[in-house]
């Protein structure tokens, strides 16, 4: 007992708990307002509500069985067992496999916030047309059959991808690639919004909300990335710096590309670019040096811009708020970039990437991407088919025209008269 008290570090514990709250802030209000501002007036509450309810639903799922499936005692590298159902045995004693200097329960709640934000990211793809009941069922099934297993493979003790040496510091693969790929599949399955590509304009209804939400994402992301050091230490400071650096580079890059291509740098472009940089640096932030973080950010800004502005338009799928273009593409780039730029001089627990003399890690990162893309795509396809068969995923045409706020929630966001 005395030994455990000595091992526990109050500074580490304080930082991880603070980071947990910061990651919650990313979902509500950060992501909620980032997405909420981008939709039309008639749908803003539906987006805020979906973000909010995901916090409620996944918090419960995680405590009951999600944490146990993801981080619990391993079954053949595939999934955790249910020994930790209802947090049985997850208490104050640190779990040295995950974080030796903080209570196991602190690690658990930190991870809960990751489990919350991941399905919330997907909201952006089916925004303005998914039935609330379908959204709820999809979210619970997706968290259980995509996030929890994938999290176990990459982060759980005994997970098979972790065993191969896969590196994902804070969730570039588990959070962003998985949600981004699933978003692309969903956008195709659920179909375009009425009038999409036929001259209907989808002007963001409140750009200040979007900029505010994007800024809160940036702020909260320090908990996401620097918090993933799981201690108040040098590595946390390092991840903080690489995160900020890549984000700055990506936000600037996107705005400059737009300036050249469309004649004006837009606020939406700067914020979107910053988010693409945050995504791309997420898997790499604890393994790469700050100068390479600039490069990771610049490339993220370029490829995510083209994915959103050119590829989406060319292929014609309606990923309403660009979850694939930013989180999918940015997440894949960041995961591969980790295999290029990782260096042991930054983090002994990491590896040397291709540019530091070791091709092996890059190949592992490629495998990680391939596995995640296939797994997320196939599972999302199956889950969507189940949901659609149960409740019909899409709202009726008339409901879509009237708006989800009124038809799904019996509310209006803005009054026009006193």
């Amino acid at each position: 007992m005395k030994k455990e008290v000595k091992e526990m570090n109050t500074g580490d514990t304080a930082w991880v708990l603070t980071s947990s709250a910061l990651v919650l802030l990313m979902t509500i209000p950060g992501l909620a307002f980032f997405y909420g501002g981008l939709v039309r007036r008639k749908n803003v509450l539906s987006v805020l509500m979906q973000c909010f309810i995901i916090v409620c639903v996944i918090s419960l799922q995680w405590i009951l069985y999600g944490y146990s499936l993801t981080f619990g005692p391993d079954i053949k590298g595939i999934i955790g067992n249910l020994d930790w159902f209802g947090l049985r045995g997850v208490g104050g004693t640190p779990n040295p496999d995950y974080a030796a200097t903080i209570p196991h329960s602190a690690f658990m709640i930190f991870q809960a916030m990751f489990a919350v934000i991941t399905p919330a990211l997907i909201i952006g793809t089916y925004a303005e047309r998914m039935k609330f009941s379908a959204f709820l069922i999809f979210t619970i099934l997706w968290a259980t059959f995509v996030y929890d297993p994938l999290g176990h493979w990459v982060w759980g003790t005994g997970g098979w991808l972790k065993g191969l040496g896969a590196l994902d510091f804070a969730g570039g693969i588990v959070v962003h690639t998985s949600s981004g790929i699933s978003a692309l599949v969903l956008a195709i399955l659920i179909g375009k919004r009425i009038g999409y590509g036929n001259g209907v304009t989808y002007r963001p209804h409140n750009m200040p909300f979007t900029v505010l939400g994007g800024a809160l994402l940036w702020f909260g992301w320090f908990g996401f990335n620097a918090g993933s050091a799981l201690g108040a230490n040098e590595l946390a400071a390092h991840a903080f710096i690489t995160t900020n650096t890549a984000t700055a580079a990506a936000g600037l890059t996107w705005a400059l590309i737009e300036w050249k291509h469309n004649g004006a740098p837009t606020a939406l472009g700067a914020v979107s670019g910053a988010v693409s940089g945050l995504v791309a640096i997420t898997p790499a932030c604890g393994f790469v040096n700050p100068v390479n973080a600039i490069f990771i950010g610049i490339v993220a800004g370029v490829i995510c811009y083209f994915a959103v502005a050119k590829v989406k338009a060319a292929l014609g799928y309606d990923d309403a708020l660009d979850v694939f273009g930013i989180h999918g593409v940015g997440g894949i780039w960041g995961t591969l970039a980790t295999g290029l730029f990782a260096e042991k001089a930054v983090n002994e627990a990491g590896a040397n990437g291709l540019f530091f003399g070791d091709a092996h890690q890059f190949l592992v990162q490629c495998l990680l991407v391939v596995v995640t893309v296939i797994f997320a795509a196939v599972m999302t396809f199956i889950i969507y088919k189940v949901v659609n068969a149960l409740v019909c995923a899409r709202v009726a045409k008339k409901e879509e025209i009237v708006g989800l706020d009124l038809t799904q929630h019996s509310e209006s966001a803005y009054t026009l008269v006193e």
Binding site: T201, R203, N262, A264, L268, A313
Partner: protein
């Protein structure tokens, strides 16, 4: 009696209101409106997607006047709302058969001022 509807540039509102006051025209209803003219609006760009034909923000003034005040009102608006560029707006004059003051029930010319 005439009902004068003027659509003007938003940044000209303060000057036009002052000019109307100097012409002793006090009754004005002002609204924010959207519209377009021969320029066909403006183009906005969101994440690389160009949204052509976005409507321009304008201010609409609605003014009810007796015949004597029609010309001074028009001149007051033109004097301050004109910049000489495209988009300065329009003035529409409509016949106004009746005006009723809600408080007193007065009708016609006496109810206007």
């Amino acid at each position: 009696m005439k009902y004068i509807v003027a659509v003007i540039q938003p940044h000209k509102l303060d000057e036009v209101m002052k000019s109307l006051e100097e012409a002793e025209v006090n009754l004005v209803t002002v609204s924010n409106v959207l519209g377009r003219g021969r320029q066909k609006g403006v183009t906005e760009v969101y994440r690389g997607a160009k949204e052509a034909g976005s409507l321009l923000k304008k201010i609409k003034l609605e003014i009810a006047v007796n015949e004597d005040f029609v010309e001074p009102t028009i001149q007051a608006i033109i004097k301050c709302a004109r910049t000489g560029d495209m988009g300065d707006g329009k003035i529409f004059i409509l016949d106004l058969p009746e005006v009723i003051r809600i408080r007193t029930g007065e009708k016609g010319g006496t109810a206007i001022g």
